[in-house]
Amino acid sequence: MAHAETHHAHAEAQPGAHVQGQQHPLGVYFKIWGLLFVLSIASYLVDYFHVQGLLRWFLIIVFMLLKAGLIVAVFMHMMWERMALVYAIVIPPVLLLTLVGIGALDGKYTFTTRGTFFGNEAPAPGPVPPKH
């Protein structure tokens, strides 16, 4: 009996988990569409009003992650999929953060060595020949 109830609750909680495919009310898509517009306007305004410094980075990243999350969760139906698929797809890209760390370290090192080796040079005399 308890089983039947949980099964029923589960079926209601996961309307998309049917063989017929993802079927949701249209209103969800219109709401998310509107939200994406609002978030895009917000991130454009960050640039328009010349917000600088930490606040700029913070706002850009927050709006970006919110937009990405809405697209993946609702438009790509991830929030209605089974966890096995969600984890298999969403977790691997997190590995890219390692690459971000390596890239940042390497970039800073290159910047420092460039400063050390080329920093004291006098500006090149005359026009610099175009590089091709």
Partner: protein
Amino acid sequence: MAPHQATGTAASLPPAQGLQGVVADFSSDQRAFKNVPWGKPMMWIFLVSDTFIFGSFLISYMTVRISTTVPWPNPSEVFSLTVFGNNVPLLLIAIMTFVLISSSGTMALAVNYGYRRDRRKTFFLLLATAALGATFVGMQAFEWTKLIMEGVRPWGNPWGAAQFGSAFFMITGFHGTHVTIGVIFLIIVAVKVWRGDLDRERAGFLTGRRGNYEIVEIMGLYWHFVDLVWVFIFAFFYLW
């Protein structure tokens, strides 16, 4: 004698949820991704690999931008447009963003109407998505032309760090290619919907598999991904 309660075995147990469900699905000795047509995980796995490609591009862009000793050109000024005598920063990019988001919206509706078997609406929504995608590519072509006329090359530009051009052409070029391929596929899927291939389960010309409205959703996954990548490009390349 204790009363014995009979248990029916005809119906299967409900699938486990949450983390337990993950373990149960992967250890089921069956297909791991349940309740989805096989094409969807296949598209998702392709999209993960594509994520790594775009991730590598954006990370190498970050690396060259950190390592250059020459000031980076200000994207807000580089991509500004003059409208009625006013210089509006990033205007074209903002319009492109709205065009792409709108195409994502029409695509989501197309998937929905597809599963409702509303052939006409699905067709026109797919066509609208393709038109918006083509508009986006057109605006990108305009932007490339404008920048090339102003002297931006992969090896240099008039405003600062030479790496700006290479990062710009590589990242937006690859994204534009994805949009273009998406538009072509949208038109193919739209034609299939219009002819009723998906209702009549007509075999596909390439795979020979039965037509099904699942392909509209799989097409949708690809299209939303293109929009998703643009969100990151917009934030990291144009706004940073």
